[in-house]
């Protein structure tokens, strides 16, 4: 089971002939992911690591049956690439590209909201279902199969926590990096709902950060609807107000979106909130559900 991707996922790489696209195609293949097609306009007919390249997503999909697309194109072209994948009928689109203009994402988000295509990202590390498939750039070797579902707004911080879980013998059902941008295709809430419905997931770990109200919305869902136990870590407790901390999402202004407010909401919802990333495995072990 797992969520969003599994061993049947057929991946198409948009921007496969680029440096990142090519490198991660190989990484995904080595992990055992079925990478069935690549797209780079004008390079149709070529091959990259044995993967056939097409001029358009529609053409690639028709020829290969790809159902999931991963995007490694320059940021100003990312919105167009997402729309192309959605119009071609992809079930899942994972956009790795960082620095997508926010107005592009407003349009994309609005366009996708009543359509069947799920977008993860942009500005995200992607998704991995350990032992089955990875779509994106999460290092495969730090993950191990198991029953913890993990969702995070951050990249390397995700790795830190996943690795700590793995070292503690706590395998993962699926790890989703939803990205740090203010407008992201998939939210904590979406992932929590999917984990709640996934029989392979027994506990959930959520890695949030300052800014926005996604963590608070997730807390409301956990409190009202979720049967599975959750642990969380919120980055940015020490962040000074008014500074933009790299992630476009992680800006904190006035009293809203602070780490304290998020932690309070999560704790009120019964979530075990970790003081340190390294404490997460211990909190998960204490749940006694694995």
């Amino acid at each position: 089971m797992a969520i969003f991707v599994d061993k049947n996922t057929k991946v198409l790489v948009q921007g496969i002939t680029g440096r990142d696209g090519g490198f991660h195609t190989q990484q995904m293949q080595e992990y055992g992911t079925q990478v069935v097609a690549g797209v780079t306009p004008g390079k149709g007919g070529q091959e990259v690591h044995g993967v056939p390249v097409f001029n358009s997503v529609a053409e690639a999909r028709e020829a290969t049956g790809a159902n999931t697309s991963v995007i490694y194109v320059p940021a100003v072209f990312a919105a167009d690439a997402i729309l192309e994948a959605a119009l071609a009928g992809m079930d899942l689109v994972v956009c790795i590209s960082e620095g997508v203009p926010i107005n592009d994402m407003l349009q994309v988000y609005d366009f996708l909201k009543d359509r069947p295509t799920r977008l993860i990202g942009p500005n995200c590390p992607g998704i991995i279902t350990p032992g089955q498939a990875k779509v994106g750039i999460i290092p495969g070797n730090i993950c191990t199969p198991g029953n913890v579902g993990l969702v995070s707004r951050s990249g390397t911080l995700t790795y830190e926590v996943v690795y700590a879980l793995t070292l503690a013998g706590l395998g993962q059902s699926t790890c989703v990096g939803i990205g740090g941008d203010p407008v992201a295709g998939t939210s904590f809430l979406d992932c929590l709902q999917a984990f709640e419905a996934d029989p392979d997931t027994k506990a959930v770990v959520m890695i949030g950060e300052i800014g926005g109200d996604e963590e608070e919305r997730a807390a409301a869902y956990i409190s009202e609807k979720m049967s599975k136990p959750a642990a969380a870590y919120i980055a940015g407790r020490a962040a000074p107000p008014g500074k933009r901390m790299g992630h476009a999402g992680a800006i904190i202004s006035g009293g809203s979106g602070t780490a304290a407010a998020k932690i309070e909401a999560l704790e009120a919802a019964g979530v075990a909130v970790a003081e340190l990333p390294s404490s997460i495995p211990h909190l998960v072990q204490q749940m006694n559900v694995l």
């Binding site: 990142d20 940021a75 100003v76 960082e98 620095g99 997508v100 203009p101 926010i102 107005n103 994402m105 407003l106 349009q107 988000y109 609005d110 366009f111 590390p125 750039i137 999460i138 290092p139 730090i142 995070s152 707004r153 951050s154 990249g155 390397t156 911080l157 995700t158 790795y159 830190e160 690795y163 740090g180 203010p182 407008v183 890695i207 950060e209 300052i210 926005g212 109200d213 870590y233 980055a235 940015g236 407790r237 020490a238 962040a239 000074p240 500074k243 933009r244 901390m245 790299g246 992630h247 476009a248 992680a250 006035g254 780490a259 003081e275 340190l276 990333p277 390294s278």
Partner: protein, 378 residues
């Protein structure tokens, strides 16, 4: 990226929004001679990337060129919220009959831009939002539609319910402000105050525009508006090298890959009783030059007593970071201890490289942070 009032006004003017243009002066003498040319009372306004200019004394009404000179003298060089004022805008004073607020910004929760207006302008809009939220009328801008004429009308009649002639002018102005926002990839376009003059003209008396850094790539003409003199040298270097950097007040200089891990590093430093000197995210690539620039930026800060590397290699290759670090150590007198933790892609190669270098290595994030704090305190 913020741009100055006078630059924002140029964008407004091109989009058909009525403004008082004025002229920019870099000295008191220039300010006086502009005021002389205007031949009427002027306002001298600090051009600086900070809010609250008025409260800080950065905006002054001047009856005569002499007053303009005197006020410009005071304002140029003044610090407003830590930013030095280097230019003033000298602009004809208007006969103000009423002041309103209009602005567009992104509404993160709605995933849409929002148009906001208030008939209570000229003052801090956040105060109005807090104390009299009903005075602010908001219209969510649908991405599929942009600002519709009906929305502009509703906002305009909210501001000028008893003055259809002014309301009609306001409809065009608001539609044009919407165009400015979307055509230039803004994150904020704001007029505060939007005035009606005694003569019945609608004028954008101030203009505030912030640009989406991610959109600048497709607006090279806007990138040219960047005020390099307004930037800290460290900030400029970081921006050019593609590093996310913020100076903080502590002693532990941090070099981390990834914004989330970098924020978390700050948190963990605080947790263990230390204090970070900066936030610095070298991002996903592991170009050795980035490591060098990062070190240079951090070492400009005399408070720094230790440099902490916290790297979790994903795209970033640990050996690249190690090579960059060794290169810097070989060519520069660093003067403070360096502690480093490298995990992930090519970790072992990196450890091998670092054996030659005079650095302290740790294997865990908690470990390396505790070590850094103890070195900073020693």
């Amino acid at each position: 990226m913020d741009i100055h009032e006078y630059q924002a006004k140029e964008l407004f003017e091109k989009s058909g929004i009525p403004i008082l243009r004025g002229e920019v002066a870099c000295s008191a003498a220039e300010a006086a001679s502009i005021a002389e040319r205007v031949g009427r009372p002027v306002v001298v306004k600090a051009q600086v990337h900070a809010g609250g200019r008025g409260k800080a004394g950065g905006v002054k009404f001047c009856k005569t060129p002499e007053e303009a000179r005197a006020n410009a003298e005071k304002i140029i060089g003044m610090q407003i919220k830590g930013k030095t004022v280097r230019k003033v805008l000298v602009v004809e004073a208007a006969d103000i009959a009423s002041e309103a607020y209009v602005g567009i910004t992104h509404n993160r929760a709605a995933r849409k831009a929002t148009f906001m207006v208030s008939a209570e302008g000229g003052i801090d809009i956040e105060e109005v939002a807090k104390n009299n939220p009903d005075a602010i009328l908001k219209e969510i801008i649908e991405p599929a539609l942009g600002v519709t004429r009906a929305q502009a009308r509703r906002l305009a009649y909210h501001l000028y319910p008893n003055n259809p002639a002014i309301a009609k002018q306001a409809v065009s102005l608001l539609l044009n402000l919407g165009k400015v926002f979307f055509t230039h990839d803004c994150t904020l376009t704001e007029i505060n105050p939007l005035i009606v003059t005694e003569q019945g003209e609608l004028i954008a008396l101030d203009a505030k525009v912030s640009l989406d850094d991610n959109g600048l790539a497709r607006h090279p003409e806007l990138e040219e508006l960047r005020d390099l003199t307004a930037e800290d040298i460290g900030d400029a270097k970081a921006r050019e090298a593609g590093l996310a950097f913020h100076k903080l007040e502590g002693e532990v200089g941090c070099i981390v890959n990834g914004a989330g891990l970098a924020m978390s590093t700050l948190d963990v430093i605080k947790h263990f009783g230390g204090s970070a000197a900066n936030f610095l995210d070298i991002g996903g690539s592991s170009n050795p030059q980035k490591v060098r620039t990062a070190m240079e930026i951090i070492l400009r800060d005399p408070n720094v007593r230790v440099i902490l590397f916290n790297i979790f290699g994903g795209i970033t290759r640990c050996d690249d970071v190690a090579n960059g670090l060794v290169e810097v150590l070989n060519s520069t007198e660093v003067g403070v201890p360096v502690v480093i933790r490298l995990t992930g892609t090519n970790e072992e190669e990196a450890q091998e490289i670092l054996k030659q270098a005079n650095v302290i290595t740790e294997t865990s994030m908690d470990g390396v942070i505790q070590r850094a704090i103890s070195l900073a305190n020693s």
